[in-house]
Symmetry: C2
DNA sequence: GTCTATAATGCGATAGAC
DNA sequence: GTCTATCGCATTATAGAC
């Protein structure tokens, strides 16, 4: 029961990539319903029917985008290593997630838009996968706590807090820039978040 | 140059309230463009033209909602008192914001939807107001730091972190419930966030 | 004040020429 | 593979009866 093998020519691959790139730009800014094929076509430099030649529908573009990106998006969490130095592993996870907010804010907003609106087109994708991944990493963190390597904290809420604090800088960037003025949001965030989690995880407290 | 005095009859007030209530439900779930007058009318138990009798347009409903709610939304921040006990003031702000995420998740998601999409209909409303409010409270926090009452932290990023951590539980509720299963998100969050900020603000570190 | 009917536009998707 | 033209539906807003 494997998927039917889909193969694409070079030109197909290039155009599919252009469309998905344009779609990321548009969907992340306007959400699914707020985005139009006209916008995506214009951004991609292709005609509207040409989009539908490569993808069967607006939904199809969107779903393909989410599936492709979710994998990349969750990689830093997967990379948390049970055999690594506990505080370093977690502090590095924080910084990697913050860097992703800085370098991939559109991806962050794409997922935020979906989740905020009840994740109608996302639940089936991450059902089973995400919960299991979080549970697995929470068990690792619990192990570190039992060994006294880090302070006693609820591991799942710890992961939530890392998501919240890092993604906030991408998802609410407009607000943050309005308040910070000329200051670089991510420079300040890097220092601040390192301090927050260093204190939180310190086993001597 | 004051606004022209708008007065409404009892029945007008009641219907306007019903419409705004329905609009909050619909806009917070689908965003501005994802929402339709049909949905709002159905939710309010009124006909579509009747909505337009009370408000001049879909925009008008949305704008009225944002203006009305922003005031309530920012009240806990305004209430931070320079003369209060520093850690208590800040820990209480955290808990009040968390309680608002629990009791007013639709309001949280309404603002999140707007901000995420670049706050096109929000910037003029909060321009001038929000930055000044944050700067004012940041100055108070800086004063507390100078007195040694709380640990040395960037006060603006501290405020961002409170927003991020509390609003996350409303805005990403679907994801959080999917991962936590039957556990009450807010019970765990209350304890976790109290610990986070107690450690972060402890002046002896 | 509230309704039904409809105008006016925007948008996803298709037809068919090239 | 790509385009122009267009269908058909959804949606905002208005007209006009009651």
């Amino acid at each position: 029961m494997t998927e039917p093998e889909k193969t694409f020519s070079r030109i197909q691959l290039r155009n599919r990539k252009r469309i998905l790139d344009a779609a990321l730009e548009v969907f992340s800014q306007n959400g699914f319903r707020g985005s139009t094929l006209d916008q995506i076509a214009s951004e991609a430099g292709l005609s509207k029917p040409n989009l539908i030649y490569y993808f069967s529908s607006k939904e199809d573009i969107h779903r393909t985008l989410l599936v492709d990106l979710l994998d990349i998006w969750l990689q830093p969490l997967r990379d948390i290593d049970a055999t690594g130095e506990p505080r370093e592993e977690l502090l590095q996870y924080v910084q990697r997630k913050l860097q992703m907010s800085k370098e991939m804010p559109r991806e962050s907003r794409l997922f935020a838009n979906e989740t905020l609106q009840g994740a109608p087109r996302l639940t089936e994708i991450m059902e089973g996968g995400l919960k299991d991944l979080v549970d697995e990493k929470a068990a690792i963190i619990d192990g570190w706590i039992a060994e006294g390597k880090i302070a006693k904290v609820d591991p799942v809420h710890l992961i939530f807090s890392i998501w919240a604090l890092t993604q906030h800088y991408a998802d609410f960037e407009v607000q943050i820039r309005a308040i910070l003025g000329k200051k670089d949001p991510f420079k300040g965030a890097e220092i601040f978040l390192d301090m927050v989690f260093r204190k939180l995880l310190d086993p001597n407290t």
